[in-house]
Amino acid sequence: MSASGVVTIMKRWIRGPIAVIGLAGMVALAGCSGGTSDSGSGTTSGPTASGAASPSASGKISGDITVLAAASLTETFTTIGKNFEKAHPGTKVTFSFGSSATLATQVNQGAPADVFASADQKTMKLVTDAGNASGPTLFATNTLEIAVPPGNPAKVTGLKDFADSSKKTVLCAKQVPCGSAAQQVFTLAGITPKPVSYETDVKAALTKVEQNEADAALVYRTDVSSAGDKVQGVTFPEAQKVVNQYPIVALKESRNSATAAAFVGYVTGPGEQVLQQAGFGAP
């Protein structure tokens, strides 16, 4: 699992500087760095092919769409995309996974895409406020869980361990969704955490635990389950009070709005099973 964590960080690392430069007028490039899509084709071919396949919006569910989705959805959406293509022959779904905020920036900079799935409503609001989409649907929830190295060497039992400076704990930075969720949980619990690091994303936080460099990290339930036996999960009651909502929306600029709408419908319908198997909650 560390490999996947690393890969995700790599993707983000590559995206980071490119996004900075991209904002200076090279937005298309940032889209290119999306990397993994199960179709195996580069993401640039997605929108181009989509344009060719259906030059105008039509009611028919076929052709290519490009989906921008939060990094935490990488495994589940890849599976859902395959299922969708089977259910609707003639369609092809290309994914670009990344940090929700980065993806929102790309959408607002005019990146050619059809669907946007965010890891929180705050980020979705950036896109809807800019008028690039409206009426997002909630399709999954995620709650926080404590990830500890196998065997839980530091004997972490709950949130209060994050206030114990003799234990090396890591949190997500408040600027990223898992970090803002963590902040709410600690406020509710009345605990002031003393982490050694505010990680730039959830996978970076997870890597620290997988490498046994951190005694505990506060991450999403889905991250703990996808990490397999590299980490163990420790649940805590306050988690249920801060539920992260995942919204999805078809983008206004989509050139294949029928298929985009169908994909959104598929995620909220048949896709639920895949999501729940991975540890997501129902909306």
């Binding site: 790599m10 690392w13 200076a24 980065t102 460099e213």
Partner: protein, 268 residues
């Protein structure tokens, strides 16, 4: 007469070179211009006052300088061993040294864990003995930066060593200089420009380091959060602020390089 020859040469600039050179220049400069144009100058005060920028900038300058110094201390002798003794394993050694150049820095960070982390080969006994572990400390930042920056220094110093006229070293020996004295008083000054160039490259690479740092050192304001990490996080919530911080990092690094150039690279 010499002026005439010079003018003749200038007139003969090869067009074949001009076009790609111009495109190359534009490719490097235009994104920077874009940064400058798009940076939210009107919000400068607010962004810089309310952000982690200053501690991050301070940490970046300190750690990258430390990394460049560490790279010098380790890299110059390493370059010497690559350039001088006639060894059979030299090309293998050089290949090993260039590994960090091609390794994604994030993987480099994980690799550092395996050696210097709390459970690493060397890190574990250190942790057992002293309770000290590198990750999440500024030392880890320096080590991450050194890891990625060292090859730049080694390769450029090695090139300088190969290009240097070794007969000067012979001359120094016949004047009573032991090998160590030859190295300090003759070899090193002779390859000074190469060493300076390598150190500047290493410093610049260390200053921009992100992947290995976030993996091996983590991100804590004032302790391990360097400027690139701060820029990355700012990008999550306030892309405009990220632009401005990038410009700040650029400006500071250009100023430092210009200062260095005037102060002592000119000497050679």
């Amino acid at each position: 007469m010499s002026r005439g020859a010079g003018a003749g040469r200038a007139a003969g600039l090869p067009a074949v070179l001009i076009t790609p050179a111009m495109i190359g220049l534009a490719f490097l400069v235009l994104p920077l211009v874009g940064l400058l144009v798009r940076a939210p100058w009107s919000r400068t005060g607010a962004i810089l006052a309310g952000s982690d920028a200053w501690p991050a900038l301070r940490l970046s300058l300190i750690t990258s300088t430390a990394a460049a110094v560490l790279a010098l201390v380790l890299g110059v002798p390493l370059a010497w061993f690559l350039a001088r003794p006639q060894g059979r394993f030299r090309s293998a050694l050089r290949a090993l040294i260039t590994v960090p150049l091609v390794l994604p820095p994030v993987v480099g960070g994980v690799a550092l864990f395996t050696v210097l982390g709390r459970s690493g080969i060397l890190g574990h006994p250190l942790y057992q003995l002293t309770g000290f572990a590198f990750p999440f400390t500024p030392y880890a930042v320096v080590l991450s930066q050194t890891f990625v920056a060292l090859p730049y220094l080694v390769l450029s110093v090695e090139g300088a060593l190969r290009a240097a006229d070794r007969r000067y070293e012979d001359a120094a020996q016949t004047l009573g200089a032991r090998p160590a004295v030859v190295f300090w008083r003759v070899t090193l000054p002779l390859i000074g420009p190469g060493v300076a160039a390598g150190a500047v490259l290493a410093w610049a690479r260390a200053l921009g380091e992100f992947g290995a740092t976030i993996t091996f050192a983590g991100n804590f304001p004032g302790t391990t959060q360097t400027m690139p990490l701060a820029v990355y996080l700012a990008l999550e919530t306030d892309p405009d602020a990220a632009l401005l911080l990038s410009v700040l990092l650029l400006a500071v690094s250009i100023a430092v390089l210009a200062l260095l150039r005037d102060r002592w690279v000119r000497q050679w």
